[in-house]
């Protein structure tokens, strides 16, 4: 099981097991959350796969397409607490 699968196996569960894993992974996840949109995109895709069957509203979001490799990344600049700028990396 690779790193991403390892995280993904646990982050969606509301249990002591989940929390202990989150706590243990704390220092690993912070830099990922801050710096790597790609990794998070993959995580989001995997998480969506768990939920993107027909919802109670009857539609599904085509996250697979949105997460495909040719999509642009972004970098967020925190100009101030009240002003963020999302720069699209071309």
């Amino acid at each position: 099981m690779n790193f991403l699968e390892y995280i993904n196996s646990y982050v969606g569960l509301v249990s002591n097991k989940f929390l202990s894993k989150v706590n243990r992974l704390y220092d690993w996840m912070e830099p990922i959350l801050d710096d790597s949109t790609i990794v998070l995109g993959e995580l989001a895709g995997k998480r969506f796969n768990q939920y993107n069957e027909e919802t109670e509203r009857g539609f599904r979001v085509k996250i697979e397409r949105l997460l495909s490799e040719e999509l642009r990344n972004v970098k967020i600049y925190y100009v101030s607490d009240k002003h963020h700028v999302v720069e699209i990396i071309e």
Binding site: V11, G12, V14, S15, N16, L19, V22, N23, Y26, M29, E30, L33, D34, T37, L40, G41, L43, A44, R47, F48, Y51, T55, E56, R57, G58, F59, R60, V61, K62, I63, L66, L67, E70, L71, R72, N73, V74, Y78, D81, K82, H83, H84, V85, V86, I88
Partner: protein, 205 residues
Amino acid sequence: MNEEFRKIIEKAKRLRYPYNHLRILAYIATRILGDASEIKILRGMAAAYYTNGYCTTFEVDIYSPKLYNNPGILQMLGFRQHKEYLRSPWILEETDTVIDFVGLDIPFDFILVEIDGDGVEVLSLEDTLAYYLSEIIHWMPSKEAVQRVNMIYIAHQNRIRKDFLEKSLSKMNAYDSLKRVSPTKFSDKLSSKLIQFLEEIIKEG
């Protein structure tokens, strides 16, 4: 649909979630409605923004009286209202952007998020965290609420200000509740570092 919006859609389609939806909404707020503050993004999409797309939601909950009262704008841009679904969302099929209009019963704080030259307002970091914390404190929380709280805190633990979070919790009547029962009551739902952070807020409050 005008040519300018067509180009925005093409750009949005090349962006990762949730920035694709932010791009669309920033265009509508700034260039159609005239100001970033005309669309305020709440709840799940704010959590998606603060977790860089890790936490996801199907729809964008927005507060926008101007847009709500002028549905012709959304129709002109290619959105279609789906009354067969709960809350009758407006959907732009090309980008799967799903808009739900919501009310604003709490005096939330918002921040300006600029993307590709346009702007839109997003619920502030502390208010987003407090919103889901209050769900955990007051109700039987959803799995999404628990995940959002923990992930937002992990992602922004060095940016969240204690005094702002205290104010946000107070706005949602959650500060006193938390003080009364102690954050450790939620140790089965909140990470230990977040519990410690909340305890420090109560101690210093």
